[in-house]
Symmetry: D2
Subunit: 317 residues, 4 copies
């Protein structure tokens, strides 16, 4: 009655996923892990009661593993996703799906050829309560027959490691806004402009930070994004959909704090874990439930065949 | 690796608990249920893959059941909790623990005599992120060496069924504020005054609503509570701790909504499920983990003895 | 075309009133002042182009003075107000009107005997934009046919001088809530209970602080007030009207501040001047306009008789 | 002791200015007005106790008029401002100063040649409490040594008349953001890009609405502006300054409203009068005080020369 998951990559997000799947997600357990840092992999495996493999592909091929989560570096994603499809196992692949267009298209073609929907990209914002309320408000027609004119987005992190590049600000950060825009608006991006602004003194010399990105959709909606990876003060993701008769904004989840010395007590999230922990949890729970023979609500357990994750909660495509 | 839970009572909260334990709480499953409405019990049991018993005590005594959740009417709680202790099974008992003082003391004495801490009362607010942040702020000394002077509390529900009485406003609603005050302040209530105010036209003829309640603690803190069970506009629970150098307030979790026609879009929770769903989930997860041989983090599985839920996440006493 | 005002008392609020009347209120000038601190009076008079008198009654009787503002200590108010009525001059008397019931009744009787409405008490909250919006919302029937059930009020100051007494917390602070309740609800207070709570370590030994006050109106509305004169963190006045179908709250005017280091930037008012400066201004402007031959909107200037301030903007009775 | 003002243009803002100067600004009165709608001019003049002239230049040349406010259509501003300088009278000119660059430079050259600072452009945002707090926060170094990286601005009005053009969105609306950026940042705009987005169905056929405008300053700060003149839901002006270590936002002045039916009660401003009435008032008061021999604080009255408005509160240049 439990789906056994293999996890490739046990860094900060990876080990967080292992913890959730082991102790907080219903109907899931972690059976195998891999990390290039074998000591870290061993420790995570021990705590989870799982096996640590010496190779990522061994996790995919482990007979006990029924579904795979990919949390390794981005340039390994495409090959691992292809291996999962070859093994016929559902895979939750953290973004990006691939680091080149050709690799992404290869994965896509392989999935189409397989005739089954096995790959989900980890766009956790689609599982965030605030984003879901925005989408519901938009779809209700409340801001003007769903006629969107402009999207404003802000994506700020307190700091990044030195190796972070200007391109990664787009492929690792703005990729979330690209997915959110496509999901919210139901249409494709057809144009992009990147505008560089005055540089933060906290950005490494090679890094343009912040950057403004203007995306245009097929119907002419302009999606305006500020990405700022060294904002220092906190983790701050915002979004506003401007419609013809009103506007709806993503909730900014400040939390209670003491009011003293003339300052009203409200704290901003410190990092992605605080801001999107609930979304990651919902994503893993829904994906695990879709992968496995969970008894609720009304699934047919014990069919013996590899679990078709249908209906899948979301798709990154 | 999974604790099997019996649930007595499958009304609105009871069936919600069954759903969570079956499909969203890690390391738990529901093995048996009971409800006086046998059709409802059967439906809930079928969906959860559980057995429906003809008597509440059969759930307690079912050999497959390792731990029990009591969600039946308040006047049945004490006897069921005693039965669970006789059976040596951990029990999560929704509030109130009992409807008379003597019954509550009897349960307490039985637990003390058993030498084991088997009973937890379902004060879910202790698991609410906002309450936990208030307590952390208070304990940090940020509002004045934890020297509390006044607590303001508000407890409003949109409506109640006709059978709801003035006393139940205290034993079913204000009981949450009594527990919260004891938990936040770490001291006992030593005095109580109830003040009746102008009556809502939506209150049944026998019901004093709203009421103000003043509680006094041993050290002289006054806890001022408004309980209003027919406020119509939403579900609204508030709390402010006034300290010597500052104040900290419970977050009021309004959610995003469209801004149109001159009105800023913010919605208030509709009911307890929306407001405290996350707290109920955290409570059930922690209780299940404490009851069962969950592999994470660092518990010793398979000891064979009835699982001592220690350290228990909270206690209603 | 300008009304000449005499001001008795040039302390912090008094000199603020002189400044407003001299430089920011249309159609007013200050002609004479008095203060027991003659040096202070001289300085204020010089800056305002006014005359400093050696006796408070000389201000009242100064032939150039057409209207009087009383900002001296509370126990001098009644005698000065009587003197103004004898002189036939309109008077804006800061609260309290008197420090004993018999004195207040004497002033009231004198005004009734005069046949003219010459006395206005300085309840500036009636001129605060937030209070006016609350009252408009209430009177519109939006929260239930103006059927009020409970009022919650908070009145906090950062600190008080050592001479401040427990009684003054009622006669100098809660008097604002008493007036606000009568004004908002349109009915009289018929009962009062004062509840003492744990004492702030910053309160002088003789001072009960904070205190809770429960007022009851003729129709049974309970007005619950926390008065706290040593709250340290800022100047914080709150009010919520609970109606049968909804609630309306006084705006809490936090102001923008930098968001840095994980703390959302919002500041609370530091003192009464920041919080109620706009209300004092509106009060003085309306009172001056009512007193004088202001050309707008549509008054009849130059009638030669002492200006009957009718319609008076508010009354403290 | 009172400065006599002439007002050219008595439309909605013009008559509002006349009302303020006549009844709410200290030390000012309106002596003469003009409007092409002579009936409207006569009515406004009668209410203010002023004279209605048959020609705008007669207002400027009226010997009783000491200072002039220009509120006529934008293409008349430059000629009127030049006439005021010829007459040696201070002038408060509503934006724009001129509708062509050459006209604006002509006015500027004339003022420089006069050797006196007689012209102030009506950029009232510099007098808004929220903008002033942002500037103070920025100048304090709190968000990173005043090192600004990005400015985000939003300028939304509920609706515009049919004659409003796409260019006017820039010269009549975004001109405020241009001035605010120059004032906040203390540097000049050196580049501009206008981006058209999907068009509102409420915009006239010839009107691009909304539009996004990207301004770049000399140091490389990007100022991103959304201007939307048919947003329907209210009047909404926002601004956020993103610095190297933090951010500061313009307060969004929502006001209290009833909380009923699940909706938290907060209203957004309906129009410019509600949003910026206080700023217009402060602007007129400071300008009048600077123009006239006001007795407070410490000006030297009665010098006989035309009043040099120095130090001027702000400048549009």
């Amino acid at each position: 009655m439990t789906v056994t998951v293999g996890v490739v990559g046990t860094g900060s997000i990876g080990s967080d996923h292992v913890r959730r799947l082991s102790a907080r997600v219903s109907g899931a357990r972690v059976g195998a892990v891999f990390d290039v840092d074998t000591a870290r992999a061993d420790a995570v495996a021990a705590a989870a009661g799982a096996r640590a493999h010496a190779d990522a592909l061994d996790v995919v091929d482990d007979p006990a593993v029924e579904a795979v989560v990919i949390v390794s570096p981005g340039d390994t994603h495409a090959a691992l996703a292809l291996a999962c499809m070859t093994a016929g196992k559902p895979v939750l692949c953290e973004k990006p799906l691939a680091t080149t267009g050709i690799d992404a298209l290869t994965v896509l073609a392989a999935e189409v050829a397989s005739g089954r929907r096995l790959v989900q990209v980890g766009f956790m914002r689609r599982f965030d309560a605030g984003y879901l309320r925005m989408k519901a408000a938009l779809d209700s027609g409340a801001i003007g027959e769903a006629l969107v004119l402009v999207l404003h987005c802000i994506h700020r992190n307190p700091a990044v490691p030195p190796a972070f590049t200007s391109d990664m600000a787009l492929t690792d950060s703005v990729i979330h806004e690209i997915d959110a825009a496509r999901w919210l608006l139901g249409e494709e991006i057809v144009g992009t402009t990147v505008v560089r602004t005055r540089r933060s003194p906290f950005a490494a010399g090679h890094l343009a930070d912040p950057q403004l990105v203007l995306l245009v959709t097929g119907s002419g909606v302009v999606v305006e994004v500020e990405v700022f990876r060294n904002c220092r003060y906190g983790y701050d993701v915002r979004c506003e959909i401007v419609g013809a008769t009103g506007t709806v904004s993503l909730e900014v989840p400040t939390t209670g704090a003491p009011t003293t010395g003339g300052v009203l007590g409200r704290a901003v999230p410190a990092d992605w874990g605080e801001r999107f922990g609930g979304a990651y949890h919902a994503e893993l729970q829904q994906w695990s439930t879709a992968c496995g023979p969970a008894p609720w609500p009304g699934r047919t357990p014990g069919t013996g065949t590899p679990p078709p994750p249908s209906p899948r909660p979301t798709s990154g495509r």
